[in-house]
Symmetry: C2
Subunit: 413 residues, 2 copies
């Protein structure tokens, strides 16, 4: 049961001029479900991506990196679910390349113009015959309104499809940003992979787009955690078709830069949060707002110490305002000269904030019933002021329930 | 239900000349259970300790560090369960000092000759009246044979008392090492704390003892993980009374040094493993044997990545040889230039080893039924060869079951 997450409304997913999506049933691992998605881009689009840091990165991730580095204009993305093509050695690489080659032949573009993505079971080879046989149907299905179907077709064990769409004004023109995402990190066991895609018709210079995708990833997909596991296939790609008709955004001083930047981050955060809301067995969304650090890195370290702690996560599942577990996690986050007497911790919900810890222990004003009241919410913010600088970071995570163990222990049985 | 762990046999716990232990019911948090333990040392004993790196370290840990640094000969240890005296600010420090002062008065020694330890609920103050009122009974109970009672009195939510005893020959004399431990790291939620104590009648120079306790801690208590949480109160103390009558061990070249060192590490590993075997909800003991690293640090990083992964731990609970999760954890352990094509992974039980991964994926010789057979054991070794150096590290962890969530979600309710 996802936390405050509804399926996307197909009418609210604005098509992005220059982008078409088509999904088909290729029978890669299961019959009678769409598992192959083709995204085509008109000539002139600019594409930037960030990928998993896992050394066991999957074959398609390696090929994506190669093709983006090759400098060829990207004309298509091909995404399969069911099998992740990870831990598949040389054969896996050959399969990812063959997939790109087949899409390239179909579209009459170079193989380097195609980016491949896979998500699903690790250590199994792609059924190349069935995958390639499904391509013509995916191609026949491509249309600008394909987002709703595609958001469903890229799901693995996600319980709800994830898509976000926004429109903003840039230099007097309407710019659209529409995106979709699936399954967080290793959140879905062998069905590894967080995938995120955002398309826009904004016109953005390539170096700026490269920088923006890194910044947006840092503030969204790289600021969520479900169980601390990093998948072999994580990918986040932004496609900018440049069709909106406004003057090119070439620098932070360009007209509309800040509006576009905020909209891009906003859509990315929405897609990333949706992954946490649909975390395995999640019953609560926790926002970790860590302030007062010397740098953003130490704020993130504190946030991840809290967000990865099974003790904190099980306490939130139980709606137990167990402050000791939060303080202990802050204490072992690795800040060697942290002054625990100065830091403060609040629990917050929509109705306000309760100071729970100060001076190295429970706040004098804290009453257990105030903590308990906040813990009953489905969305809770833990705010920490480290009182040693001006840096800040926000992370999102979910709680840890019986269902997490059930889903992960039963997955292959 | 602990994994292959039996209660200690009182007859097998050799008294250590110069050491007496007494336990009493002080009613610190619960009635009718021994919760206060006094350990007294005859003059001339040498004591060394290592303590939690958590910045929220508890008041008794701060006082232990001060008293060991003061250079006064240590004459007593006082251990209470029920309340951890952590996150208690200035009042907690005052209480820890007052406890030492009271023990010092009772024994007519300086306050700096006393080391205090607490384990239990965080963020609550010690009931000093009851604690101090229990001291005379604890003192009246001290005797050389007090280990069995003490091992029980320091338990919090441990299900089985943990004690290990060994005798070895050093320069023709019998040297005894007897120790006890309790609850792993944050393994027992608010009942935080891993405590470990080893006493010996060996005669060891102080600088060497300081080095040996660090080495033994590194190879034992600092090589286990249940849930990755580090407690505010973790402490490991070695007491050497020097009564065995052999020439002082002053350097690694001294007669009997290696025998004593191995015995100390052996007892420490036994006490640390017992904590993992009694991990919350544990049904399996996993040994992580990581070889072929450039240094021990990267071997430990890979071991902890595997040992902390909820996905790996739930797969072991399910007896599922889910290789993808193990490989993914190795991949995100932070070794930037790891060559995944060269590393190998084996699953082992008492009957032998099965090569499960090589060349970046599943081993060609691997059969799922071989993996499944090994996974049915209660004790399993995951052996990884990183193939990039000669360093090695061994860690121990347990699986992750429904009961882990149950214990931690229900703890305070």
């Amino acid at each position: 049961m996802a936390v405050n997450l509804s399926p996307p409304n197909p009418q609210a997913l604005h098509p992005v001029p220059g982008v078409r999506l088509g999904s088909a049933e290729a029978g890669i691992r299961k019959l009678h479900r769409k598992d192959l998605t083709l995204i085509t881009l008109e000539p002139g689009a600019r594409v930037a991506g960030v990928f998993t840091q896992n050394r066991f990165c999957a074959a398609p991730v390696q090929v994506c990196r190669e093709h983006l580095a090759a400098g060829e204009e990207i004309r298509a993305l091909i995404i399969n679910t069911g099998i992740a093509n990870a831990g598949t050695g040389e054969q896996g690489l050959a399969d990812a390349r063959a997939t790109c080659a087949a899409v390239a032949r179909e579209l009459e573009v170079p193989a380097e113009a195609v980016l491949p993505f896979s998500t699903g079971v690790i250590l199994e080879l792609l059924p190349m015959g069935r995958l390639l046989a499904g391509l013509p149907a995916a191609r026949a299905a491509v249309r600008p309104e394909g987002w709703f179907d595609a958001a469903h077709a890229i799901m693995t064990t996600d319980t709800i499809a994830k898509a976000v769409s926004r429109q903003v004004q840039v230099a007097g023109r309407t710019v659209t940003l529409t995106g979709m995402s699936k399954g967080a990190g290793m959140i879905k066991p062998n069905m590894a992979t967080m995938l995120g895609y955002i398309a826009t018709d904004a016109c953005v210079a390539q170096p700026l787009l490269d920088a923006l995708v890194r910044e947006a990833a840092d503030l969204s997909f790289n600021s969520i955690t479900v169980d601390g596991d990093t998948s072999t296939n994580d990918s986040f790609v932004v496609m900018a078709t440049g069709r909106a008709g406004h003057p090119e955004i070439v620098a932070p001083t360009s007209d509309g830069y800040e509006t576009f930047r905020r909209a891009l981050i906003d859509v990315a955060v929405g897609l990333a949060q949706a992954i946490v809301r649909d975390g395995e067995g999640a019953t609560k969304l926790m926002t970790l707002d860590i302030r007062g650090g010397r740098d953003r890195g130490e704020c993130r370290a504190v946030g991840y110490a809290i967000g990865h702690s099974p003790l904190v996560k099980t306490a939130f599942f139980a709606s137990d305002p167990n402050l000791g577990r939060i303080l202990a996690a802050i204490g072992y986050a690795g800040i060697g000269d942290l002054d625990v007497m100065r830091l403060k911790v609040w629990l917050e919900d929509g109705s306000g904030a309760v100071l729970v810890a100060e001076r190295g222990g429970r706040a004098a004003s804290y009453r257990e019933e105030d903590g308990a009241r906040i813990m009953r919410n489905a969305e809770i913010t833990i705010r920490v002021d480290l009182a040693r600088g001006d840096a800040q970071a926000t992370l999102w995570t979910c709680d840890f329930s019986y269902d997490y163990v059930k889903i992960n222990a039963d997955y292959r049985s």
